[in-house]
Amino acid sequence: MSYSLRLSSRVFRKSFRFALQTCTCQQQHGLHTSRTQKNKEPEPEVNGFDMKSFPVDSIRNFSIIAHVDHGKSTLADRLLEFTGAIKKDADNKQVLDKLQVERERGITVKAQTASVTYKYKGQTYLLNLIDTPGHVDFSYEVSRSLAACDGVILLVDANEGVQAQTVANFYLAFTNELPILPVLNKIDLKNADPEAVKEQLLNLFEIDPDEVLMISAKKGIGIEKVITGVIESIPSPAKKCNPDAPLRALLFDSWFDRYKGAVCLILVVDGTLRKGDTVASAHTGKTYDIRDLGILTPQERSVQQLFAGQVGYFTANIRSAKEAQVGDTFHRKGIPCEPLEGFRQAKPMVFAGMYPMDQSEHPALRAAIDRLTLNDSSVSINIESSAALGQGWRLGFLGLLHMDVFNQRLEQEHGAQVVVTTPSVPYKVRIHGEKALREYGEEEPTITNPIQWPDPQVIVETSEPVVMGTVITPDSYLGAIISLCQDRRGIQHNLRNLDQNRIIVQYKLPLNEIVVDFYDNLKSVSSGYATFDYEDIGFEPSSLVKLDILLNGNMIDELSTIVHSSRARVVGKQICEKLSNTLPRHLFQIAIQAAVRGRVLARTNIKAVRKDVLAKCYGGDISRKMKLLKRQAEGKKRMKMYGNIEVPREAFINILKR
């Protein structure tokens, strides 16, 4: 899927930069910390960062939201440069260079924060730039990051205009009731059309064209306006913070460090957090001693305490990423508080099986998956064993991009070939009957694997996850895009002109219709111009059925899939045809059938072998024949029997892989 290549690499290369700024410094800092701890000297406050000197009203917590490649990290770099947090040019390049290294080490893609100070109208402000992951796959994480902000910079490329992702991110900020500072970037470029983009912003978001800042992050034009804009139009966190209340801190991001454990990024909402404090998680109840506390400038800098409204990090020897969950609230041990709202556990929405191409690579693949998931608590793992593909795992991801990034890294870092099965989504099935209820333990179990699908007789209702998809496209491709969405059971929600030749269209789409090749198809029908994004809008009742595949009447469990009843025939036909092309002929005819509840919807036949014998086999031919024969004999050993039908692993891979 080109999706992964285009989006993931870009988004994450960008996000990495911030990750790196912290990670590389962590190490330096780690050394520093251990030395000071050994000497038992009190750690000096960092120059210019006496945290007490930043009362709540001098603080601005904000983030930048933008579509991929609209210049978010360049703007961030400029803001840091302008405020003196990092040096110009040389340092930035270094940051980028190290990025490659860090990337290979497998640092998780995470949003990062940088704190800078800026003197404006006689007052020194503490500006906390909170980066968000660029994609709404991580919408929950984005929303947590936004929960730590009091406003956002909406950054739009003056050449490309508003894109699907911009819209999704805008609405996230909008629903969080955050003030928005609109900024047009890249105004120096020849094709920039700021007026048209302003018109889009007006149409879409009702943003007053006069309020839009015009900058070029690359050229450093208008950076000061952005900073003063942040100070003036984004409120301080004073409204939601209470410096005198007991400690309450929102964990809005975390990553895992091999030496220090989880590093938690927090917003101190109420009270004060001090080094040495014992804090407790409102979610798990576990308590931790704060080992190190600090801010990111963007280097980690230890401080003794963080006050209400301030943003920083702490480490507390938290040994698992699972214990540092985004959205959790920390309070002082023994002084419980009302947890901050919005916490929920990451819910995987896209599932895929992963199997080593060769079973001998199982341990190596397991190690690789362990390593990757250590850093990313949002990936769910279940051991799965398929008679066809052997031992493997069923992994759950937040979304498509998340999965693609994971796969890409697995492939890059693991090296060996991995069979990734076609992604599927979770379904909810309401069941009745005492026996079924006992078996499933609940009235509406979530089914992530077709094998778990309940007997049709006990099913009351089925529902599937639905998303709101946003497509922005030049109007000439609209027809093709509408028919694509309709083919995928989409229901049009909204269609508007964005400007004179671009259209924004929103479709309610079942998630399972977009998990496989929707994005690729969208790109191909729009010559690559349309952009797409989506957000989960929950489960909706839907007529779902389990499609079974039978070979001469023997059901092949591994090939069962859950489909919408209207699609069963088409999907069934596809699978039958694919199978008839990959299954070897046998000595007897094979009937391949696709059936729902025993009713056959599609069928293909594989004719019996009638002649299969080498024409010539004399002296010289025998050696060749034996070579081939040995290979075939080895292949036979690896085949899976269904009744008396042999199914080679390749046939399964061909059907199951993406």
């Binding site: 002649k611 014998v613 024409a615 004399y618 002296g619 050696s623 034996m626 040995k630």
Partner: protein, 472 residues
């Protein structure tokens, strides 16, 4: 004295010793195959030249041009072949030669003198059985027909004519160097000189070949043929012009089912005409007419291949290799006993899977390299692999089942005295027997008429059965 050929084999042996360690030594010390097996064999002589290139052929062959580097003088080539043959026979235990086959290439382009030289060399080292079969492959052209008498005088007693098709457009498509008319004349002439000893080669499954056209052709063949026919299904081999044509979509072979139908129709047509399918592609009227040389291949006999690209399967004289070793006295020529003195249950398994007893040799393919090797080492061998009994049994199953005789208990027994055919195959092949594809008795295991058509489908199972059972 070590022959030159043995020098080379000795080298391979020492190389193996280096790689596998001391254990290889043990593995070479006994062949312990029956005397009756190691004393008999056949000879194949590969003539590497053709007049022109047939579009389907991937055999080792060269089109001689003046000054082309691969073109050797007849005299030189003949002498080297003789030299290689003599060395090979000496380093084997073969004392009786049952057949000699001149193949190619186009061996009918060779001088009849070659036959004489080769036969003299064979007779100089071994005895040739009274009814030995000496076959020559012949292209049915007028130029070659006139040589047939001389070939007969030189020792040939059977010819195989490559007529391929009785259809001029097919011959043209194949780029054959003869017409139908010339072929028919050659057949007539050959039958006069070798009455009852003429075989015809034909190719079916040609592009756009229909059942009717092929049956008409077979009718014509039946009118002119002698008592032996070989019918080969056209196969697309890599590196041939046909392969390129098919890959480019210029030529399409009949569908699988049409191929099967053409084959089945041929078998039943020839059956009605009194021809028995004694092997997948070979048909004979009366068992006298069956090709002895090829039957020896399928029976897993020893054969010595001479000439560029030729293959051999031969038990080599180990004692010439390891003369000084004290193990010499272990060597036995007794038909029955296996003189290893190992009492453990696993002894025979070692014999089956660890002890090398036969060499599979492939000669250098291009005439010049081959010639150089022969000059230097006395053999053109490029690749020598040693085979265990298990390897040999695998080959026997794969080739023996191609024949109507099947795999016989007697021959099986000679390689595997510990487990009978029935013991090994009966249970695991019940499903094949039930499907009427395979028959097993105390005396043989055979593919049925039906089973023969799909033999290659069945073979991988049987190979796995052999391996599993013998490793048990």
């Amino acid at each position: 004295m070590l022959s030159a050929r043995n020098w080379k084999i000795l080298f391979t042996y020492h190389w193996n010793l280096k790689v596998y360690g001391k254990s290889i030594h043990q593995r070479f010390c006994h062949n312990s195959l029956a005397e009756s097996y190691i004393s008999e064999g056949s000879v194949y002589v590969h003539w590497p030249y053709c007049r022109q290139r047939c579009t389907y052929c991937n055999f080792v062959k060269f089109i001689p041009h003046q000054k082309s580097q691969w073109t050797l003088q007849n005299e030189v080539l003949e002498d080297a072949m003789v030299k290689e043959l003599q060395n090979a026979l000496r380093s084997s235990y073969i004392s009786t030669v049952k057949s000699v086959f001149f193949g190619g290439g186009t061996p009918s382009l060779a001088r009849p003198h070659l036959i004489e030289k080769i036969m003299n060399a064979v007779q100089g080292t071994c005895s040739v059985t009274k009814n030995a079969e000496i076959t020559l492959e012949v292209n049915p052209t007028p130029q070659e027909s006139v040589k047939l008498k001389d070939f007969m005088s030189a020792g040939i007693n059977r010819v195989s004519l490559g007529i391929q098709a009785l259809d001029d457009s097919s011959l043209k498509f194949f780029n054959r160097d003869h017409s139908v008319e010339e072929a028919l004349k050659s057949i007539e002439y050959a039958k006069k000189i070798f009455p009852g000893r003429v075989s015809l080669d034909l190719i079916f499954g040609r592009p756009r070949q229909t059942h009717k056209r092929w049956m008409d052709e077979l009718h014509k063949v039946l009118n002119v043929c002698d008592d032996h026919l070989s019918l080969y299904q056209l196969t697309v081999e890599r590196g041939t012009k046909l392969h390129r044509q098919v890959a480019a979509g210029e030529v399409a072979l009949p569908e699988d089912d049409v191929m099967a139908m053409l084959y089945e129709a041929s078998v039943s047509f020839l059956h009605n005409a009194g021809f028995k399918r004694y092997e997948v592609s070979n048909f004979a009227r009366g068992s006298e007419a069956e090709c002895l040389h090829n039957k020896l291949y399928w029976k897993n006999s020893q054969y010595i291949g001479v000439g560029p690209g030729a293959h051999s399967r031969v038990v080599l004289k180990n004692d010439t290799l390891l003369k000084s070793e004290s193990l010499k006295h272990h060597h036995t020529r007794d038909d029955k006993t296996i003189d290893l003195g190992i009492k453990e249950n696993t002894a025979y398994k070692n014999l089956l899977t660890r002890i090398f007893c036969r060499a599979a040799i492939v000669n250098a393919a291009d005439p010049v390299s081959w010639l150089q090797e022969v000059h230097l080492y006395g053999t053109g061998a490029r690749n020598i692999k040693f085979q265990t009994r298990l390897d040999i049994l695998h080959e026997y199953v794969a080739s023996g089942l191609r024949t109507s005789e099947g795999v016989t208990a007697a021959i099986w027994q000679s390689f595997c005295p510990w487990r009978t055919l029935v013991d090994i195959f009966q249970e695991d092949t019940l499903w094949l027997q039930e499907k009427n594809l395979l028959e097993i008795s105390d005396a043989y295991m055979r593919a049925t008429e039906l089973g023969l058509n799909v033999l290659d489908y069945i073979l991988p199972y049987l190979i796995n059965v052999v391996e599993r059972e013998l490793n048990r």
